[in-house]
Amino acid sequence: MIILEANDLWKSFPSSPPVEVLKGASLELKAGETLAIMGKSGEGKSTLLHILGTLECSSKGSVSICGSIATQGEMAGLRNRHIGFIFQSYYLLEDFTTLENVCMPLKIGRTSTREAEELGRRLLEEVGLKGKEKELAKHLSGGEKQRVAIARALANNPDILLADEPTGNLDQGYSNQVQDLLLKTAKEKSKGLIVVTHDRDFAQKCDRILLLKNGKLIPATEN
């Protein structure tokens, strides 16, 4: 079942002359499928991921998430229900505890506090952070922070996980742990996973690899 479909995405940034980043990029993602997007720095991988995650609008083309076309008004709700983000810089709320961070998407979706905390504790246990619920995010190590970010991305039970260089700030040991955790979770929970990465080994572990080149997505095997 296709859970994410991007058709002919174009994106240009205003400057003189305008910078065309995407020039008709298209992709499809099935439930439980893991997809790596690779490309040179500055090719627009993060921009593509943000467009797929409805954080940004494309200049042309459409994104369909679980059958719904992302439009301006619908985007926040779609994000909250269907998408979980994992960023290279973790982007945790530093002054909140790990549990509060994990529960935040649930609370945004108006889940009751009791229910949210119950689920949050379970997710933290799943990512191996049991007992760190009350620790402030700013006091965690990089690897722990990224685990909290993964737990947070899973909190609303989204269909799609979008990871932007999730291991970019981690050493090799933590990096492997996070990669395995992400891929295992995607498979076990049948989530679609798109990873933007420079790490060829990580990309190799995914079902498919797409290369962003000259604003278009092409299968890596064609290169």
Binding site: L55, E56, A76, F87, S89, E100, K107, I108
Partner: protein, 668 residues
């Protein structure tokens, strides 16, 4: 509500965010100060206004019925001048209300009516309409809805007051009297005994008045009341000797108690003894009473009995407590050299320091006090003494040295057979009252209605607008009811067909108060406007704070948006952060305002100290500023502050909501 937890986090001061924390603290401090200032200011000004309105309406009444020109041109009013039954005299509203017949004219007896007189205004049944009795009935009927309503007709007149001020001249070597005269052109108003505020308006007699009354009654210049009669309704609490050196009876001293004493010798014999009231220091000679005799000893001579009749004086005794009164003497207790003394002393040797005066009686007293009192049903009574009528003067006369008991007369001109002659009505000062705020406040004397009737009937040349000279005053417990009562009264008068004879005015429409009312109104609007402007300036701090916060929390805003938070949630976080600061400042400001108002006298003293002169004119603002936190001030603070703070938070909130999450996150 994730928004609330976010508001809590961003508003909690942190060392890491020192600048935002300091600005937040500054914002709260500034708004707290503004709320404090505005609340105190509004409360005090409103309190002063309330006090003034109370003063304005306590005597003048919040509502008046004034006869119109049509009333004075009517057959009903004018016919009395041509009727024997009315003794050919126009009647006051009070006399009209009491008269048994509405139309006193009898064509059989009375002369023919002049052609100019208006035609009688008749009811359907042919009877003459009675505007006064009709108005009284209308007012009575309003008591159902307004039980506190009280009314009475009040007359104004004018006369020359002359008072003889007889004072004891204590400076002369031989006790003597000093006489002077006070002359004052005065307005007279009939004593409004039904005014429910009278007990607050009448200034109670003082111990000074009582000393004066006792002095007058023993003065050869003036025939006074007996002391028994004067003291019947007085309870004397404390007295003091008339002079520092006070001759005492040896029986006041306790037995077998030694007193240090100064002995004065004349030709080797003790001429008199002085006992100082203080124990420490002084002479080292002593006396002791044993029975009816005094014994005397010193350090250098043995004890010896003193001859009877050696004068004994006490020096410096300041206060003696009265245990009970016995006719013209009092039983006292006091202390000399820390030893208790007690005994009976004639009042003539003493000055009264403190006394309470009975002014309220359950039954009409058999012998009335000479000051105004409240008899059965709390009805006020202005007494008379023999041929003298009691009058009440505005309280400033008291400050100028006039005392209760001073006698004199009211002079006015009246036509007699031999021409215009000055007439004298003997009067005495029965008391003083607080005139509050009224056009002729400082010149208006309250007199029994017979006096105003007599002077007005004499056509003495003292002229007032007829509509002002005789009104029905209507008092209400709450002056805010005045417009409602006015409407109901006009309605009732209209139903009786007598509305054309009456003009109903509330205190806001009184000619002499109009300007004051307008001033109050414009002051109120001005102060509120100033308050809002100051508050607005205070709230701009919130804008600065929130702009800084939005800039500081861009990453967090991006994270929340990535997790699916809607724009309006982000806007709400920052808008309500502003409102929260507003509410917090408001609570603190109101608390400080409450504490300030509770201690307003200390604040005034402090301001006076700083300025080097009185901060507030007592004549204008009263002896003490209002200390009550008023509802309007509280409402202003409770609504205006959070609303303005919320509005101030809107601009940064909209800015926060419009942030592009993608740009924000990539920027980080």
């Amino acid at each position: 509500m994730f928004e609330l937890s976010f508001i809590k986090k961003i508003l909690t001061p942190k060392r890491r965010q020192l600048s935002t924390s300091l600005i937040a603290l500054l914002s709260v401090t500034v708004i707290t100060l503004v709320v404090w200032l505005v609340t105190v200011f509004l409360s005090v000004t409103e309190g002063i206004e309330r006090g003034w309105l109370k003063k304005l309406t306590a005597l003048n009444a919040p509502l008046r019925l004034q006869p119109t020109e049509e009333y004075y041109a009517s057959y009903y009013y004018n016919v009395d001048q041509y009727s024997l039954a009315s003794q050919y005299l126009s009647k006051t509203l009070g006399q009209k209300a009491q008269s048994l017949i509405s139309d006193p004219y009898d064509p059989e007896i009375d002369q023919e009516l002049p052609k100019g007189i208006a035609l009688p205004d008749l009811e359907d049944g042919g009877r003459l309409k009675d505007p006064v009795k009709g108005a009284i009935a209308a007012l009575e009927s309003l008591r159902k809805d307004f039980p506190s309503l009280a009314f009475q007709d009040v007359q104004l007149s004018g006369a020359l007051l002359r008072l003889d001020l007889i004072r004891q001249d204590r400076n002369s070597a031989v006790p003597s009297d000093h006489r002077s005269q006070l002359t004052h052109v005065s307005y007279l108003a009939s004593f409004p005994e039904k005014n429910p505020n009278l007990s607050e308006l009448i200034v109670p007699p003082t111990a000074d008045d009582l000393n004066h009354l006792l002095y007058l009654s023993s003065s050869p210049f003036q025939e006074g009341q007996t002391w028994d009669a004067l003291l019947e309704h007085v309870q004397i609490q404390t007295v003091k000797p008339r002079s520092d050196l006070w001759r005492i009876s040896l029986h006041l001293l306790p037995e077998k108690t030694p007193f240090r004493v100064g002995a004065y010798l004349h030709k080797g014999e003790v001429s008199h003894l002085v006992v100082p009231s203080a124990k420490a220091g002084g002479p080292s000679t002593f006396i002791e009473r044993r029975g009816d005799h005094l014994f005397f000893w010193g350090e250098d001579f043995p004890e010896q009995p003193l001859e009877d009749g050696v004068p004994l004086f006490a020096q410096g005794v300041q206060e003696l407590n009265v245990t009970h009164q016995i006719a013209e003497a009092v039983a006292v207790e006091g202390k000399i050299q820390n030893h208790g003394i007690s005994g009976e002393i004639p009042l003539s040797e003493l000055l009264i320091v403190d006394a309470s005066f009975k002014t309220h009686f359950d039954q009409s007293p058999s012998s009335a006090p000479i000051w105004p009192y409240f008899g059965k049903d709390a009805q006020a009574v202005l007494p008379s003494v023999s041929s003298c009528t009691g009058i009440l003067l505005p309280k400033h006369f008291q400050k100028n040295g006039v005392k209760i008991g001073d006698r004199g007369h009211l002079a006015y001109s009246a036509p007699t057979l031999s021409g215009i002659q000055e007439q004298h009505l003997p009067v005495y000062v029965a008391g003083f009252y607080d005139p509050g705020i009224m056009a002729v406040g400082n010149k208006c004397i309250l007199v029994p209605p017979q006096i105003t009737e007599a002077i007005n009937a004499s056509e003495s040349g003292f002229t007032l607008e007829p509509s002002e000279a005789n009104n029905v005053f209507v008092w209400l417990r709450s002056i805010n009811d005045a417009p409602k009562v006015k409407t109901a009264l006009l309605d009732a008068l209209q139903k009786k067909g007598i509305d054309k004879y009456w003009q109903v005015k509330t205190f806001r429409e009184y000619d002499f108060a109009k300007d004051l009312m307008l001033q109050f109104q414009s002051d109120k609007y001005l102060y509120t406007l100033i308050g809002i402007i100051i508050l607005l300036v205070g709230c701009t701090n919130i804008i600065s704070l929130l702009v800084l916060l939005v800039s500081d929390k861009k990453k967090e805003i991006g994270i929340l948006r990535a997790m699916g938070a809607k724009k309006r949630s982000i806007a709400a976080i920052f808008a309500f952060s502003g409102a929260t600061l507003g509410v917090l400042s408001c609570l603190l400001g109101v608390l400080f305002a409450y504490l300030t108002l509770r201690n307003i006298d200390v604040v005034v003293q402090f301001l006076s100290l700083v300025q080097g002169h009185e901060a507030f004119n007592a004549q204008f603002f009263g002896t003490s500023l209002p200390r009550e936190l008023t509802g309007r001030a509280l409402l202003f603070a409770a609504i205006a502050t959070p609303v303005l703070a919320l509005l101030a938070g809107l601009v940064p909130a909209i800015k926060a909501a419009r942030l592009n999450p993608s740009t924000t996150l990539r920027g980080e």
